[in-house]
Symmetry: C2
Subunit: 361 residues, 2 copies
């Protein structure tokens, strides 16, 4: 694995072809890199901003072998990439950053919670659930509202069922797919925040300013910056991230979501080994965006300065909301980003807006 | 020619495949458009950030016909595009913005100077030169240092010869290619500035803040913003641009370079029917970049707010200077843009840096 920085003109492979891959591809191109995307779709959003695209299944060994010939380093835009994909690329001599250790943690909610505990940060109370009987017992212990979450492959509120005492454990377990899950006790919190952190190949870490996030129907709605999080809580978030980044010898951007309340302080919720929807505003409001920061880390470059120069708010455009583009495009000072997706299905992330409201000293 | 705004998902064709096309492609992708680039190179910088690329000569009618099938509107990144190319696309039903009227002006230095005069703004004294005898006479009238410039296809100091009284007109005319030219008298100026203006399909015009430009070896070296240009001169620049934009029913970004001195005021130098090197800093320092502004105009969208939020300086990386990327990438707060060009030939624009030095109220 080369530890010297990747020279401009080299090719960065991106596994995954959605809006995160698209914005990573643009950031890489800006630094002079070629990008080749990889994923099953024929004409996906990320490929529109990349030099080349390979359309193949994530476990297609032949295609991955050819991809490995084309790229100097690889990264990914989502945590549910098969670990086998990473192994095949590494066996072909391609560094994959961040490496597969973090996938084992992030692909399993139970592992993730245990990892937070190891890092010394509180989490919501959780109970492992293998079957309906486990769930019944866990519901009794929780003794209040709780959420059943599948251990693997959940995002944006999918693979989750809200439960209250008296609900039928068997029906709930089946509604959630009948797969290994966790029951998570409700946490009283004032608001949710996220820390977008990065660690370079040399071990240096950098943190973006923390936004405050609001949700609708389980999907991120807005990120407000600054968050209003007290400095002591920010320090705890930084220490938690630094411990996890160093423990995993992590290279790239890592996002950690936290709940915060005045009563309970900071509680870790989940993490994602990638750039994050709640960090899209870094493009408009920071010296370095989360996308460039990730590319810098993956390329072995020094991390960029994450200084935030403006206050503001990022708002997601979900499903049909993107149809408001004629009005949005006419709003003075509103930065509109659309992802080039064809069909505006309900719940689908189609784009986002950023409005800067004031300058930050 | 449709006057309703182009919907995201539509395809914008870009003629020309250098760094300007590359940055236009990124801006278009950000707004959700597909981009197809067109130009003779096989694997040029702009194609790395576009959904598709057609490699063909600018006068290849078959290729242009196929390109016309793929794109909803077309634009270009350079003023030396053959007017025939534009005619072929228009005949195939594709709107080309800005249209060919401005090309006739910008492809001929003599026409350009006459156009400035028509707009009521002073230019340097000029003499048309068809042969060595014309040049000898013009040099006598100039009676001081002057520059011989070919009328067509000159940029970045190419096709120019500096002359002083006593120089041999015949040798100079031949050194400049023996083609129709102009002799331009020297203008005493304190500094050079450029106005990056835009006009939308509906006729509304918007102006970016004016930078002050310095050159090295006839190539732009730095653009400083703000420029320090007095408000009266800014007003004249705006009036000049508005007159030209409206006269041409212009759609897109138009750049005008001016000389300024306390003694003589504002003198128009040249114009370019496109985004401009001296406006690259708008990406980092403005609400809307010059690239997005051009795409908005070409797509029939409302123009974006050009507000500048920061002071700073843009510096070009010419030829081997781009080899400094390891040091540049480590400079805190320096925004580095590299164009993905292979060979760092002397005089070739390889990238640029932007440093924001202060916030602007």
């Amino acid at each position: 694995m080369p530890s010297s920085p990747l020279a401009p003109g080299a090719t960065i492979g991106i596994l995954g072809t959605g809006q995160l891959g698209r914005m990573l591809a643009m950031a890489a191109a800006r630094l002079g890199f070629r990008v080749e995307t990889f994923g099953p779709e024929q004409d996906p959003p990320a490929a529109h901003a990349a030099a080349a695209h390979m359309s193949a299944d994530y476990e297609d060994e032949g295609a991955l072998g050819a991809f490995a010939q084309n790229v100097d380093v690889a990264t990914y835009e989502f945590e549910n990439i098969p670990t086998k994909t990473v192994s095949i690329l590494k066996a072909a001599g391609v560094p994959v950053r961040p490496d597969e250790r973090v996938l084992a943690v992030c692909q399993d909610r139970l592992e993730e919670k245990r990892y937070f505990e190891k890092a010394g940060v509180p989490t919501a109370p959780i109970w492992p659930v293998e079957n309906a009987e486990d769930l019944a017992a866990a519901m009794r212990e929780a003794a209040g509202p709780a959420i059943l979450k599948t251990r693997r492959f959940g995002y944006d509120g999918k693979g989750q069922v809200r439960l209250k005492p008296g609900d039928d454990p068997k029906a709930a377990f089946e509604a959630c797919g009948g797969v290994p899950s966790i029951l998570e006790g409700f946490v009283d919190f004032d608001f949710e925040v996220s820390l977008i952190a990065a660690r370079g190949l040399g071990g240096y870490a950098a943190f973006f300013d923390i936004p405050r996030n609001t949700h609708r129907d389980g999907i991120l709605h807005q990120s407000h910056f600054p968050s209003g999080l007290p400095k002591e809580a920010v320090d705890i978030a930084h220490r938690t991230a630094k411990a996890i980044l160093d423990d995993l010898s992590y290279v790239g951007v890592l996002t950690i979501e936290f709940f915060w309340s005045k009563a309970s302080g900071l509680i870790a919720n989940e993490m994602a080994p990638r750039v994050h929807n709640s960090g899209h505003w870094t493009v408009e409001a920071c010296d370095t965006s989360q996308f460039e920061q990730h590319i810098r880390a993956v390329a072995g470059w020094p991390l960029g300065r994450p200084r935030r120069h403006s206050d503001g708010v990022m708002t997601n455009l979900i499903g049909a909301e993107a149809g408001d583009w004629p009005a949005l495009s006419a709003e003075p000072g509103l930065a509109l980003t659309l992802y080039g997706k064809g069909e505006a299905r309900p719940g689908r992330k189609m784009g986002h807006t950023v409005v800067l409201t004031a300058q930050s000293p």
